[in-house]
């Protein structure tokens, strides 16, 4: 509205019209002032820090010149190679295990009565907050060197529990799977409401076995939601820091731990290597987000029939 009146008023040289145009223009200009504080904070604490990391990664540690020296170093040093591999491995396995368990959980919750479903959702909501340092501590009490389950395992002779070592990659994996399950189930539950009861009836009439029904109708239909959730879980595990740090400190080759130790090192700050590792993590996260966006769009497209 204001735009039209402004352009219409401008050519007319009449005194009052110009004054009006000027006031409209100044009002528009004043309007943008409200955007400035937001812009300032975004630039100062989001965009510039990101740019700084990219810059850190591109200035060679030894040569001090612009180039990919740091990336070459990252991809040829065993510790950093291992960090990338471990991070991707733990994230992938925890995401896949998480999605399988939560798919079944969401399916059963969906088939349950309202009362059971809301009780289960309540547990999910509460326990999805149980992560990071508190979660790490709880698992130490449970499965640490003198943990409750470890002692039970020793007394009842269950080698899996007695010999379980929380302070390794497998230990971290158990923790990561734990925090993936509530998140994944909460994300998957709404998708099930798109499955119509009539589909099952139709499938039965057409002589589909229950297996056919699940693998040829339900799962393909839910695929966009499943893959979208999978990418959320993957990036969730990829960026997780507190849980891992609380359990193994910096003594394990994992991307977030290695990155942080380069900037907060007890020894010396190594922004070049840290920056390059950070950029690797950023790229992995961005790819995840793009995958998720793609599938979220597809999932919502499929449901627009209603």
């Amino acid at each position: 509205m204001a735009e039209i009146s402004q352009t219409a008023a401008a050519p007319a040289a009449g005194e009052p019209a110009t004054a009006q145009a000027r006031s409209a223009k100044s009002r528009r200009w004043v309007g943008y002032v409200a955007f400035l504080p937001f812009l300032l904070v975004i630039v100062g604490y989001e965009l510039l820090p990101l740019a700084q990391l990219v810059l850190d990664s591109l200035i060679g540690k030894e040569s001090g010149t612009l180039g990919i020296e740091n990336f070459v170093k990252v991809f040829t040093t065993p510790l950093y190679q291992q960090s990338i591999i471990n991070s991707v491995w733990i994230s992938l396995v925890s995401a896949v295990v998480g999605i399988v368990v939560s798919f079944l959980a969401a399916r059963f919750a969906y088939e349950s009565s309202e009362r059971v479903r809301s009780a289960f959702t309540m547990v999910l909501n509460m326990m999805s907050n149980f992560s990071g340092v508190p979660l790490a501590f709880a698992f130490m009490i449970l499965m640490g060197n003198s943990g409750v389950l470890t002692i039970l395992g020793q007394q009842w002779n269950i080698p899996f529990l007695a010999d379980f070592d929380l302070y390794t990659g497998e230990g971290l994996l158990v923790l990561y799977i734990y925090f993936q399950i509530p998140l994944a189930t909460l994300l998957l539950l709404p998708a099930f409401s798109g499955i119509k009861k009539s589909w099952r009836e139709a499938a039965i009439i057409l002589r589909a076995t229950p297996l056919d029904y699940w693998f040829k109708i339900v799962i393909p239909n839910l695929m966009p939601s499943i893959l979208g959730t999978l990418s959320v879980l993957f990036s969730n595990a990829l960026a997780a820091y507190a849980t891992a740090f609380a359990v193994v400190m910096n003594n394990y080759a994992l991307l977030p731990l290695q990155i942080t130790s380069k900037f907060k090192g007890d020894v010396q700050i190594d922004a070049a290597t840290g920056g390059a590792l950070a950029v690797v993590l950023i790229i992995l996260m961005v790819v995840c987000t793009l995958i998720n966006n793609y599938f979220t769009k597809r999932a919502s497209k499929g449901r627009e029939i209603i």
Binding site: E111, P134, Y178, P182, T185, S193, S235, Y241, A242, K262
Partner: protein, 274 residues
């Protein structure tokens, strides 16, 4: 609305819960609860070196609640929660005014920059800020400045979503145009007509943001560390020293966050019913 809920009910296969579902959900629920319940029991007993714990005690809690470092870290955490969420709300409300009343095209840009922190999360954010400002010798290299800046960005996606959904729900643009026709200025219309209508929407997302700041370890540990210990850093520092005390801290943290979550769920449900 009522036909929609009926359709959902009809689509849900059973009113009765099948046995398999009960067993599976029971196992998953138990699995999720066990770590916390173990910590809770652990915090209430003197020792747990046998199958069953022995010697009920409230000693850990007494020790925790008389520990001044604990109260200081709680105080710091609350300051961080309240101040950074408040800053983010003000920044976003001002910026959203521009999107709603001045230039809609900025909406795209805002959505993009507000979603970046969601994709990147704490580690990248904290080290980026450290790398940029540490050692610059300006006021920006002050740890507190960095920390509040970082939290403001961390909660951005959540509060942005809340405000945007609330603005869309009431059709803010139309309200402002209507107020303008009645001779009210745009900004005044935004403050006096639009804002009172979106308070409840902002409330839910702000509470969610509070619980995120409350549960944060990465930013606090990386940026401030022991200089400004929040509750999570306090817990981490105590973990190796005293497991009894730490288990009490874990229980307290969980109960606070659970209470906030319960309020959020309740508010969401009542707004859905309306």
């Amino acid at each position: 609305m009522s036909s929609k809920t009926k359709a959902v009910e009809a689509a849900a296969p059973g009113k009765k819960t099948p046995l398999a579902a009960k067993i599976f959900l029971g196992i998953v629920g138990l699995y999720l609860l066990v770590p916390f319940l173990t910590t809770l029991v652990y915090s209430l007993f003197v020792e747990w070196t046998d199958v069953l714990p022995s010697g009920f005690t409230l000693r850990n809690y007494a020790e925790l609640f008389t520990n001044s470092t604990f109260w200081l870290s709680i105080g710091r955490t609350l300051i961080l929660c309240l101040v950074s969420v408040a800053i983010t709300i003000v920044l976003l409300l001002l910026a959203m005014y521009v999107v709603v009343a001045v230039n809609r095209k900025l909406g795209r840009f805002m959505q993009f920059v507000c979603m970046i922190p969601y994709a990147l999360q704490g580690v990248i954010l904290s080290i980026g800020i450290i790398s940029l400002y540490t050692g610059t010798g300006t006021i920006l290299s002050n740890r507190m400045f960095m920390l509040f800046g970082a939290y403001t960005i961390l909660v951005l996606p959540y509060i942005y979503q809340g405000i945007r959904n609330a603005l869309n729900a009431i059709d803010a643009n139309m309200l402002i145009q209507a107020a303008e026709m009645l001779g009210c200025g745009r900004f005044r219309a935004y403050v006096q007509v639009v804002l009172p209508n979106i308070v409840s929407g902002i409330l839910v997302s702000s509470l969610l943001a509070e619980s995120i700041v409350f549960g944060d370890f990465v930013l606090a540990n990386n940026i401030a560390g022991t200089n400004y210990q929040n509750i999570q850093v306090f817990l981490q520092a105590n973990m190796a020293r005293s497991s009894g005390l730490s288990s009490a801290i874990v229980v307290v943290i969980f109960l606070v966050v659970a209470a906030v979550t319960a309020i959020v769920l309740k508010l969401q449900r009542s707004s859905q019913n309306r």
